[in-house]
Subunit: 154 residues, 2 copies
DNA sequence: AATTATCTCTACTAAGATGATAGAGTATCA
DNA sequence: TGATACTCTATCATCTTAGTAGAGATAATT
C-alpha cells in the first residue's frame, strides 16, 4: 500500500473539513489556502471524495464543501482506498487471495503480503477523521474561550 | 509500502536459491526459466541483490548465483527495502519521523502512517526466506525419496 | 591460446502513473 | 442579471516501471 501526494492532500482537506464540521459549506479556495494545497488539483480530489460519498457540495454563490458524515464515521481506510486503491502491498485485495489459492509455489509469500495488508487495514479501518483532525474550531460566539490543547511535554 | 513487480521477482529468485541452497552456483538462465522470469531483467535484479550482500556471484563458465547467507538469515524486509525502498506508506522512514516532530498540525496523521509502517516492518523483519521458500530440493543422491509436503486440507 | 560460458555494466525505450494546470460549462444567490 | 463557486474535460511535463540490447570482463574447458 502506498499513500500518494494526492491521497495526503485528500486527508488534509478532510481533516480541515472535520475541524469545521459545525460550520456550513467551505469553499475549495479556503481549504486550499488554509492547508496550502494546489487549488485546481484539490478540485479534482474533492470531486472524487464527493463521488465516494464522503463529502457533499453546494454549488453557486455561498457554495462549498462539507463532510457528508460526522468525522468519527469517516475512516482513513475509506479515504485511501478511494484515492489510492487497495491496501495490499502487491496486486489488489481480491487478486491477492486468488493468488494464494491458485499459485501453490508462492502461496506462503503471498500469505505474508496478505498479513501485511490485514495489519494495515486493521489500523486504517479503526482510525477516523475525528481521531486525527484535532479540536473542532470554536464557532464565532465561543472564539474567546481558551481551549487548552494536548500537553506537549517531552 | 508497495512491492513492485521487480520486488516480487527478487523474492521469487531468492526463494528458488533458498530451495537450492545446498547446491553450488545457479545460472541466471536457470533461475529465470524455473521461476518464469524475464532473464535480462533478472540480471539487473540479482546485481542489486549482490550489491546488497544477499547473494554472491561466480563469474565465467560454471558460474552463477547463490545465497550469501543461510535462508533463515535473509528477511523479507531486507529484500523489499533493497528493491523497493522504505516500508513506510508515505515519505520514507526517517522523513516520516521528522514530519511527526515538525508538522504539529498533521502530527496525528503521520503517526498513523508510522503505525502502519511499524506493523509491516514487524511482519517482514520476522519472516525469512526459510519461512516461505518451501522444502530444500533433495540432492541428486536422495532424489528418489518421497518427501511429503505440507497438508493441503481445506 | 582460443573458445565458450557466464556474469557485468551502460544505455536505451515504451507505457503508464503522478502531480499538476487551463478553461469552458453549469448552478445558485443577491 | 451579474457574480460566485462547483463541474467537467483536456492537456501536459516529469517520473517510475518494466523491460531490452549489446559490448565488456572473467573463468573454465579444450
Amino acid at each position: 500500500m502506498r499513500v500518494s501526494q494526492k491521497g495526503l492532500y485528500a486527508l488534509q482537506a478532510l481533516m480541515m473539513l472535520a475541524r469545521r464540521y459545525r460550520e456550513g459549506a467551505i469553499r475549495i479556495r479556503d481549504i486550499a489556502y488554509e492547508e496550502n494545497l494546489p487549488e485546481k488539483f484539490l478540485e479534482l480530489i474533492l470531486l472524487e471524495l464527493k463521488n465516494a460519498r464522503m463529502v457533499e457540495s453546494v454549488r453557486g454563490a455561498k457554495g462549498g464543501y462539507h463532510l457528508k458524515r460526522p468525522p468519527n464515521q469517516i475512516f482513513l481506510s475509506e479515504v485511501i482506498r478511494t484515492i489510492d486503491g487497495p491496501l495490499a502491498p502487491f496486486a489488489d485485495g481480491a487478486g491477492l487471495q486468488e493468488l494464494i489459492d491458485s499459485d501453490k509455489a508462492h502461496r506462503r509469500l503471498y500469505s505474508v503480503f496478505m498479513d501485511v495488508r490485514n495489519a494495515a487495514a486493521h489500523i486504517l479501518e479503526n482510525t477516523s477523521l475525528a481521531d486525527i483532525a484535532g479540536d473542532v474550531y470554536p464557532l464565532e460566539a465561543n472564539k474567546k474561550k481558551h481551549r487548552p490543547r494536548q500537553s506537549t511535554a517531552h
